[in-house]
């Protein structure tokens, strides 16, 4: 079986810091998979390796059977990556930004038009898309970026803290977008978060990561019952030895 993402014994060392230490997990197609853990656990490093931005120092990772190192350009055609701290070009309007990014996925004018219209709908920004990005609030910018990440219906969307820094309303909107989009278009999502509520709501399956290793994995309900916990936060405290 070909997994959407297959990570085997992945390691990454930045000089004296070991960011990933034998990370292993698999993501099935059309599922939402969440990597959860505290700051510095290695979530972002893992997502950046899968997104072909940085190279692993041990192990391997593949996306739909394509190795992220040796077949990086193939992988880039399948994925869409939303970094935790991402921005859009300030001098462009929301529409121009979507068009600029869309052109990398399709040069066909009709395809591009459909893509940008979809993105406009996903973002829910309406007429504000005609304004320059520099006039957007943080929440609006994030909605634009999430729309950008999903507009080309990638086979795999890698979303690093999709609701990072957003207030309740914007977070609610963004979570709704992701859930709806996956159901409608069959996109596989690999996301990271330290918001346990968000993960519980969104993910079919989660992996708890601590100090560069997976410490527990399963469906949210299964994990809660396994550790006799009320929520994923308690699960995490239990497995990380904090309880």
């Amino acid at each position: 079986m070909v997994y959407a993402v297959e990570v085997l014994d992945l390691g990454k060392r930045f000089r004296e810091i070991l960011a990933l230490d034998g990370l292993t997990f698999r993501v099935e197609e059309d599922k939402i998979f969440g990597l959860i853990g505290p700051n510095g656990a290695g979530k972002t490093t893992a997502l950046r390796i899968i997104s072909t931005l940085i190279l692993p120092t041990a192990g391997s990772a593949s996306v739909f059977g394509h190795n992220v190192v040796s077949e990086a350009s193939e992988v880039r055609k399948l994925i869409s990556y939303l970094p935790e701290e991402a921005g859009a070009y300030k001098s462009m309007s929301g529409y121009e930004y979507l068009q600029f990014m869309g052109k990398f996925n399709s040069t066909d004018k009709r395809d591009l038009k459909v893509m940008v219209e979809d993105a406009a709908a996903i973002s829910g920004l309406g007429e504000r898309l005609r304004d320059r990005v520099k006039t957007y609030s943080k929440g609006m910018k994030r909605r634009l970026l999430v729309a950008r990440a999903l507009m080309n219906k990638p086979k795999l969307a890698v979303l690093d803290e999709p609701t990072s820094g957003l207030d309740v309303l914007h977070s609610y909107h963004v979570r709704g977008i992701i859930k709806k989009h996956v159901e409608k278009h069959g996109v596989t999502v690999l996301l990271s978060s330290h918001n346990m509520l968000e993960v519980d709501y969104l993910c079919d399956r989660v992996a708890l990561i601590n100090r560069g290793k997976i410490v527990a994995e399963g469906a949210p309900a299964e994990l809660k019952s396994r550790y006799k916990a009320l929520n994923l936060e308690e699960v995490f405290a239990e497995v990380a030895g904090l309880a």
Binding site: Y81, P83, G87, S91, M101, F104, N105
Partner: protein, 426 residues
Amino acid sequence: MLEGLGNVVVKEVKELMRDPKILIGMIIVPVLMFPLMGFAIRISMQTAVESVKALSIGVIDQDGGRYAQMLFNIFSNSNLTVIRLVATSVEQVAKDVQESNMTAVVIIPADFSQNITNDKQAKVYVYGVFRGTGMAETAGASAVVSLVNGFSKSLALQKVGNIAILDPISQSQETIVKGKVVSASPSVLSTLVLSQHIGLPIGIMVLLVFAMQIAATSVASEKEEKTLETILTMPVGRFTILLGKLAGSVVVAAVGAVALVASLNYYMGSLTFISPTQPSVDLASIGLAPTLPAYLVLGASLFVALLSSLALAIAVSSFAEDVRSAQAIVGYFYFILFIPMIFLMYADISMLPLTLRLVLLAIPYTHPMLAARASFTGDYTTVVLGIVYVTAFTLVVLYIAARIFTTEKILTMRLRLRRQKLKREE
């Protein structure tokens, strides 16, 4: 292979053009720089000419004789405005003169005509009016002195009847330019050429400094605005992104180069306007103004030098974490722009010691400055070799930049300029 290049280039140009700093620095400043310099030269010369016309002098003729009248007519026929005053001494009119706009007062004493007739030395009293308004205020008195000198000489000639006795040696000053004799004195020509030699290196340097600033921000602003990671995961080659960035900066820089050359052309035109006392010299007619091929060679040399500085700026600023660090890093390279500028402003490269000459030739930015002079020196071989050298230099820099771009170093390299703390030794 370079799919998506057009998209990146269009985005770069759009972003750059929408940044007011860049619009001003790259296009408006070069467009205005030389015309402004030319304008300054023109204005100062016109003012000099016009100020002589506007000068008025007062003349007290106590003689009333034939020669006094001749001198008075000489004053009246000059550009000066002559006002006849009546007084027995200068003290009588001094106060009124000071309050008027007269710049000089001339007294022709009672024995003036008689002395000349009797072959005695006649005297004229010239009083300059000092008001502390600047250099131009001495012009009235100087004009009077030179008019009196001229009159004195012509009277002497009438009496002696042979100019060779009065002026045993006369000089004719002309210049040989490119094997042709030009009727202009060497000092006039050298003033013209000097103004070009100083103006051009400054102009080229300003353009290069702005170009490097632009390119330095192109990668760093993507890092600062957190857009770099996203674009690096798009299905587009890393080298394509690099080339797109370079091409975007080049489009803006090329507009700047064209603006500079056009502006230079205007400047050269304004240099043909010469001071009121010297015969006018047209640089184009004596083959010293750049011709069309000279402009083309200069444009090409300027373009490759720009390309090399942009590639260099992109390569070194890729390590910077934010825009400010990037500009600071690029700032360290400005001194290599200053070196050729300083030397070429004051020296002819062929006169310099061999080692220094080689050092200068190794700096890519020397070459457009040499190209700018090719119309004077006729040394097009060095210019063409320079273009080849700078192109090769650019390719090497681009290769290095591409290597940085295709690895994770572009994201993981952290170069932030920290203020160094000075530790006091105990």
